[in-house]
Amino acid sequence: MAKHHVSATLNGNDVEFLCETQQTLLEVLRDELHHTGTKEGCGTGDCGACSVTLDGRLVCSCLVLGVEARGKSIQTIEGMAEGTSLHPLQRKFLEHAALQCGVCTPGILIAARSLLERNPDPSEEEVRFWLAGNLCRCTGYNKIIEAVLDAAREMRGG
C-alpha cells in the first residue's frame, strides 16, 4: 500500500513526510523527521515522555497517528529554546537540578509550558495535578515542581 503524504509545520517550519497508516506521530517525529528529543516511555499514553503540542493542544504523540498531523502545527522540545536563548522553564530546570537521567524532561517541559500558557500563576497543587500525566522515576518530583513554580514567577516578572 502506498504511504501517506503529509504536510505540517514542525516548530514553525514547513515539513513534509511519508508515513504508513499505522505509524504514530511519535514514530514519525523520531524515525522519519529525526527529531529524537521526543521520547518513547510506554507507547500507551501513560508516561507523558512523548508530550508535544498539536495546534497548541498538549497530546501524547504516541496516541496520535502521523496522518492526523496533516495541516497542523507540531511543537516539540527542539523548538522550545529561541536560538541559543533557553526558555525560562529550561533554565530553571537546570538551576534547580530538576532532572537526573533527563529522559522524562522533554515531555515535562512541554507539558509545563502548556500549563503556564493557560495558568501563569499556578499553585503547587495545580502544578502537581497538571503534571500527573508525566512520570518521572528519578527525582520524586520535588525539584520539578520547584522549577516550574520558579519559572512561572520569573515569567510573571516577579
Partner: protein
Amino acid sequence: MDTKVIKPEAEGRGDRTLKIVGTSPVRPDGVPKVTGLARYGADYALPGMLWGAILRSPHAHARIRSIDSSKASALPGVKAVITSADFPEQKYEFVGPERVAINFWHMTRNVMAREKVLYEGHALAAVAATSKIIAEAALRLIEVDYEVLPHVIDVDEAMQPGAPLLFEDMITRGIDPPPNEASNIAKRIEFSIGDLDAGFAAADEIVEMNFKTAPVHQGYIEPHACLARFDNKGQGEIWAASQGHFVVRAFTARLLDMNIGDVLVHPAEIGGGFGGKTVIYVEPLAAALSRKSGHPVKIMMSREDVFKATGPTSGASMTVRIGVKRDGKLVAADGVFKFQAGAFPGSPVMNATMCGFAPYNIPNVRSVGYDVVCNRPKSAAYRAPGSPISAYAVESVMDAVAAKIGMDPLQFRLVNACRTGTPTVWGPKHAHDGCAETLKALLAHPAYAAPLGRNQGRGVASGFWFNNGGESSATVHVNEDGTVVVATGSMDIGGSRASMAIMAAETLGIEYEDVRAIVADTASIGYTHVTGGSRVTYATGIAVVEACRKVITELCARAAMIWSVEKDQVSWEDGSARRAGAGKHEPLSLKAIAAKRALTGGPIGAEASVNAGGAAPGFASELCDVEVDTETGSVKILRFVVAQDVGRAIHRSYVEGQMEGGAVQGIGWALNEAYVYDDAGHLLNAGFLDYRIPVASDLPMIETVLVEVPNPNHPFGAKGAGEVNIVPVMAAVANAINNAIGRRMTELPMSPPKVLAAIHTAPGK
C-alpha cells in the same frame, strides 16, 4: 524543599578550604538534556540500519520442541533471523570477577531461551528487517511448537516438594551435605553470631511476625534500546544505554564468543536504571543480528517487554523474630528470608540477610536466606538490592517491639544503634558511625513533634546499605587554553559528571566552569565497573582526584623548568604553582603553564585507575505521616522526611535528589506497585496504567536532612548516597499506617483493598 545539613560536632576533617564541594552548580551535560539534543539508547541511527524485533514466549513454562523460521526468513525485507542456535553454549559455573558471581549458562538462556521458556515474555527468536513493520510481521510467521508445562509463580509454592521444577537437576547450594533431590531452591545462605537460643531465653519480650512483599520493577522511563554494528571480521560497535558500558562489552563479547577488545561500546545517555540496567538483554541480540545480516541493527523494547522480560527486584516471604530486655536492649534476632529469583538463580537475598539487622547492636543473631527460582522474569538489582525487603520486615517488628515495651520508636533504635566497633552478623565489626547520627537528626526534626489529626499516623524506620567501591578509571587533560577535560568510565545516571567536575576543580584549585566532564567509551578509558551500588562518587571520584594530583605534580615540574629551580621548590596552591620562600616570582597559574606546555615537554595530562576499598556504608532514618481513608482504604502520604548520612555531599542538589527520588520509589513500592498474574502465569498489568508508579499529585514535598559524617577514606569525605534512602521507606509507611488504624500491614503493597480488609478485621497484637 526543607533541607537541612547536620554536621556532627566531632568532625574529623576540616572543610575550611572547600570552595566548590557542597555547592550545586549546573551540570555540564545539562543543556542538551533540556533541549532534546541529548542522545539516549534509542536515539542513534546509522545508514542502512535494520530494525530488530524479538519473539517472546506466550507461556509461563514450556519446552520448546521446535522453532521453524523459514517463512519469516522468506518474507521480503527480512535480512536475518536468529535463535539460541546462533549463540555458543556456555559452561555451567559461577564465576567472577564481577562482584556478583555470574553463571553464563544462565545468562545466555535468559537472553535467548534454549530448551525451555521459563516465563511469559522470555525471548526465543529475533528478526532484523528493513522496517519495524516488516520485522513485526516476520515474528508472526515464526512457528514454535511448545509443550506447555506446569508453572509456579509464588515463592512459598515454589519451595514446596512436588512444585514444578524450572531446572530438573538443580541441587541447592550452601547446604552440607547437599540434598539428594532437585528443587527450585538455588541456594541457602546463613549468617550468625552469638547464641540464638540463649539470647531469646534472656529476652523479656519477643515479637515474631510473617511478611510478604511483591516484586517491583525499577520503572526507569527509558525502555532498553541499543544499536549494534558488527562486521564479518569479528569486530563491532554498540551504542547502548546501560549502567556500565564495560559490563555490556564483557557480557556481549562472552555470549558471542568474541574477544573483549573487538567490541567497542559507546555510552549513550541513560534514561534511568536503578540497578535494572546493570545486565544485558537486547545488546547480544542486536549484535548477533548485525553479524548475521551485515547491517547495523537497532532494537527497542516496548514497555510491555520491559515489564514481562526484564528484572524486577524479588518478591519475598519472610519471618522475623526479635527479643528485647525490658530496658530496651536488643538481645536476639532471627530472620528467615525467602526470595524469588525469577527464572534463574540470583536474587539479592544475601544482601537482605546481611543488611536487615545491620543498623543495630544485637549480640545473638541468625539470618537465613533462600534463593528460589520461579516462572517470572529473572530478578535484577534494584536500589540497595535486597536491603529494603528485609528492612520492611525487621523495621516493622522493631516498631512492634518498641510498642510492646512502651518505648519511643526512635529512642529504642538509638539505644541499640550500631557504631564503630559494633559486631555485624557477617563477622567483622562496623568501621564507621552514621546510624545514630541519622536517628538523632530525626529526633530533633520538628516533624517528629508535629501534631496529628484523625485517621492520621506517624511511622519511623531505619536502614543500612553497604555502598560499594571497586574498579574505576579517570583521565584528566589540560587543554591548550588551560581549561580541563575530565573523562571517566562511569555512566552518568543522575548528575555524576557534575560531581566529577566539582572534585576536579576543587583539587586543581580552578573554576568549576573551566572543567568539562565526559563519559568515555570502552576504547578510550580503563575498565570501570557499573554505575551502581552507590559507588561512582566514591570510587570514580577517588580516581579523578588521583589523576588531578598527578597533573598537579606535572604542572609543578613544568613550573620548576620555567623558573629553573628544583621541583621540590614548587608547590601548588589555589590553582597556581608557587615557588617556596621566594617573593620575587609571581605564581604561575594553570592557564599560564598550559600556554607553555610545548616549550616544557608537550601536552599535560594523567590517568588514574583504582580498585577503591573502604567505601563506608550508608545509613538512613526516615519519618512518614499518613492519613488513611477508612471508607476506601486509600493511604495518603502527608509528610515524609529522609535523614541520611551522606559522608559529604559533593553536589548538594543531586544528593537531595537521590534522597527524594529514593523515598518516592519506596512509597510506590509500599502503596501501589505489584505484578498481577493470572492462573496461567500471564502478567496482567504490564504497563504504566495498571502498574502504577507514583505521580506528582500523589505526593508532598519530600523533606531531606543531609547528615554528614565524613568518610576518611575519600578525599572529600564522600559516602555513596544513591541507595540507602529507599531502604526504610516501606517499613516507615507500614508503621505509620499501624499508628493511624492500629493494624500491622504485613503484606506489600498496602493497597486500598488490603488496608480496608485490615480495618475490618479485629486488631492484632
